[in-house]
């Protein structure tokens, strides 16, 4: 009896002390994503900076197994009642918004952003803070290889691009470095997502709405042309044979090792290029097939807040402070070439002490080129323009099929079958 009393007293003291301790801090689970450009150190520093403003917050950092599988991982967490309070919106947010899992931000939360709309609004509300802008449809190129192949100007049209590829191939140079294996199938899909955004969804404003409602499908001539363009790069022998065995990190390194001339990727690649890299790298926007002046951009990527959180006010405040912390913006720009969408951010003032790669300035110049129509990144759209859940993964898988030589007809058939199944 004496021992039982002792045990009960101990348990009571323990429960009381943990409860007291828990009441001191507001705990928020915050899901981030770690990549070679944005390692754990970046996130830890950024969180620490934000918590300085809110010392009563305790942030538990969560990291998904793979940056490409953030959406799937969040679904698993939601199914097991572990949905984080705040999460970086580096995934297709549309289905989470539709499911009522994300909290809309107030207008007062958005006043600090230069472009508060960004990727778009859903029912007039913003669900993911438009923290950064990424230029998605750029092609980085090896200037030395271009010179050696006799290419004196950056391609301005798709015909120029194909001519450049021909010259490079004739000079025994792999024209394009593309790929993405296993969990990085999104990287294999990058050129296709750019081609579709530039030539289909960015050209025909109704296409995605019609696709969602079932009025149109992937047999659309514009879509066929976009898929054909990617397939043609492969069938012409202009892509690296290692495409389907490289993960994202290896893909990036393959280009940096000088194993190919052109690398279509998002502007964040500029953050991975060392200042003293052995060869000079240039960048130009991917041309549309019809030569129209379009650029695929993505202004979003900031934190989103869970509608299930026990601390909605605190979570929103944390999200806004995290997104608009100037030092975090500066670090993000330096590491991953993410252009801050923060009104308070000043490039000259806030980047003192950082030696930015010239590529980043070129990308900012491309972004600010007058006359370029900015179009959203395919598969990341929101609201009425969002793809059905599961369709993005199908696009990624079929991009790998394109790289393994599958015909356009079969790709279209696969995508249409999936679309019918999901409707």
């Amino acid at each position: 009896m004496f021992f039982i009393k002792k045990i009960l007293i101990f348990i009571s003291i323990y429960l009381f002390s943990t409860a007291s301790f828990a009441n001191d801090k507001i705990e928020l689970d915050f899901m981030v994503f770690e990549t070679p450009n944005l390692p754990a150190e970046f996130w830890d520093d950024a969180i620490a900076r934000t918590v300085e403003e809110f010392p009563q917050y305790k942030i538990n950092k969560l990291v998904p197994p793979n940056v490409g599988s953030m959406g799937d991982y969040l679904k698993q967490l939601q199914a097991t009642d572990q949905f984080p309070d705040v999460m970086m919106s580096n995934f297709a947010v549309a289905e989470f918004i539709e499911a009522g899992l994300l909290l809309p931000f107030e207008d007062s939360d958005l006043v600090k952003f230069s472009d508060p709309v960004g990727l778009g609004l859903t029912n007039g509300r913003q669900y993911a803070l438009p923290m950064i802008t990424v230029v998605e449809s750029v092609i980085f190129y090896n200037k030395t290889m271009f010179q050696e192949a006799g290419i004196s100007k950056e391609p301005k049209t798709w015909e120029d691009l194909e001519n450049a590829a021909t010259k490079l191939a004739n000079n025994n140079t792999t024209p394009f470095i593309v790929g993405g294996a296993a969990g990085d199938s999104w990287a294999a899909a990058w050129p296709l997502m750019d081609l579709v955004a530039l030539n289909v969804t960015g050209k025909d404003d109704n296409y995605l709405k019609d696709l969602r409602s079932g009025d149109r499908n992937f047999s659309d001539p514009l879509m066929k042309d976009a898929i054909d363009a990617y397939a043609n790069l492969v069938s012409s022998g202009w892509t690296n044979s290692t495409a389907l065995s490289l993960n994202y990190s290896e893909l990036q390194q393959t280009f940096l090792n000088g194993e190919g001339a052109m690398y279509p990727m998002g502007s964040f690649f500029a953050g991975a290029v060392p200042l003293d890299h052995p060869f000079e790298i240039g960048v130009f926007p991917m041309p549309a097939l019809d030569g129209s002046p379009r650029l695929v951009t993505y202004t979003s990527g900031g934190p989103a807040v869970s509608a299930l959180t026990e601390h909605p006010e605190e979570a929103r405040k944390f999200a806004v402070e995290f997104s608009t912390n100037v030092k975090t913006n500066a670090d993000d720009l330096f590491r991953d070439a993410h252009i801050p969408n923060n009104k308070s951010f000043d490039l000259e003032r806030d980047m003192k002490g950082y030696e930015l790669h010239p590529l980043i300035f070129e990308i900012i110049e491309i972004l600010q080129t007058p006359g370029l129509k900015h179009v959203p990144f395919f598969t990341f759209e929101v609201g009425d323009y969002a793809l059905l859940p599961g369709m993005q993964s199908e696009v990624f898988a079929n991009s790998q099929e394109i790289l393994s030589g599958t015909s356009t007809a079969e790709i279209i058939d696969n995508l249409n079958s999936k679309l019918l199944e999901l409707q």
């Binding site: 539709e98 499911a99 969990g183 065995s245 599961g390 898988a397 079929n398 790998q400 393994s404």
Partner: protein
């Protein structure tokens, strides 16, 4: 009195199976908390789902390869290492080591070996065998690569079972076969092989069950790619449930997988069990 074992079995095995059966008649999304009764519609759609039959084909092929290669190599290693000697004891430990590794670790090990610039291609180039084979990136070779990783672990398990089985063969029968002038092959054919029947049954059933639910190794090696060329049924089920938010449809696939693997295992047990009795 209900035994604790039965309670545990009910909670961990029976209850999830019953839940899966129930879910398979519904259209369910955990994301939107949607539960709509649709009767047999999921099963009807499943009959026309190309991906499912593609994955089933992959799993059946892997199962056949795994059963043949693992059993044959297991018997060979068992015969080779079935001696009482310190060296052979060490060899037996080494041969069993792959089996104690986690499948996902095995997947990552083989990913580093089989990648284009990995150990295998570098070794082949060193031997002046020019190898530009993309073991993981080419759909034709990706399945072979998965088989290698799978068999590497299963051979270890089979070897141990066969060694144990060989040790149970009565010494008198071995002596009698030697006296009768049987050579090695005759001894294996008329003595060892028939008496290894129970071990063959165990190994075959374990391999069947392991390969039908293959997930982790493939995830680490190819992620189901390139495209969907190595996507197993387990991967398809998880993708359908979580990526596409179709838990009901995924449940119908799980149920069908349970029936197929159960039926296959039952037939294997029946046939191999008969063989055991005959021997």
């Amino acid at each position: 009195m209900i035994s604790p074992g039965l309670i545990l079995f009910s909670i961990l095995i029976l209850f999830p199976i019953c839940l899966t059966v129930i879910y398979s008649f519904f259209k369910i999304s955990f994301l939107t908390n949607q539960y709509d009764f649709i009767a047999l519609k999921n099963f009807y759609k499943l009959m026309y789902k190309k991906d499912f039959f593609n994955s089933l084909q992959i799993v059946i092929l892997l199962t056949i390869i795994a059963i043949l290669v693992s059993n044959i190599m297991g018997i060979i290693f068992a015969k080779l290492f079935n001696y009482q000697n310190k060296i052979y004891t060490i060899l037996r430990i080494l041969i069993f080591t792959p089996f104690i590794l986690s499948p996902i670790v095995v997947g990552y090990i083989f990913a580093s070996i089989l990648t284009d610039n990995g150990i295998l291609n570098n070794f082949l180039n060193y031997l002046s065998i020019s190898s530009q084979i993309s073991w993981l990136g080419n759909p034709k070779y990706a399945l072979v690569s998965i088989s290698i990783a799978l068999c590497w672990q299963l051979i270890a398990f089979c070897t141990v079972i066969y060694i144990a089985s060989l040790k149970n063969i009565p010494k008198e029968l071995e002596d009698a076969s030697r006296i009768d002038g049987a050579n090695g092959i005759q001894k294996f054919r008329y003595l060892d092989w028939p008496l290894l029947a129970p071990a063959v049954t165990i190994n075959t059933v374990v391999i069947l069950i392991s390969t039908f639910k293959l997930y982790d190794r493939v995830l680490a090696l190819t992620g189901g790619g390139p495209g969907r060329s190595t996507e197993t049924i387990a991967m398809l089920i998880i993708r359908t449930a979580f990526n596409e938010n179709r838990v009901g449809f995924a449940s119908s696939m799980s149920l069908l997988l349970l029936i197929i693997s159960g039926a296959t295992t039952f037939i294997a047990l029946l046939y191999l069990g008969k063989r055991e009795v005959q021997n």
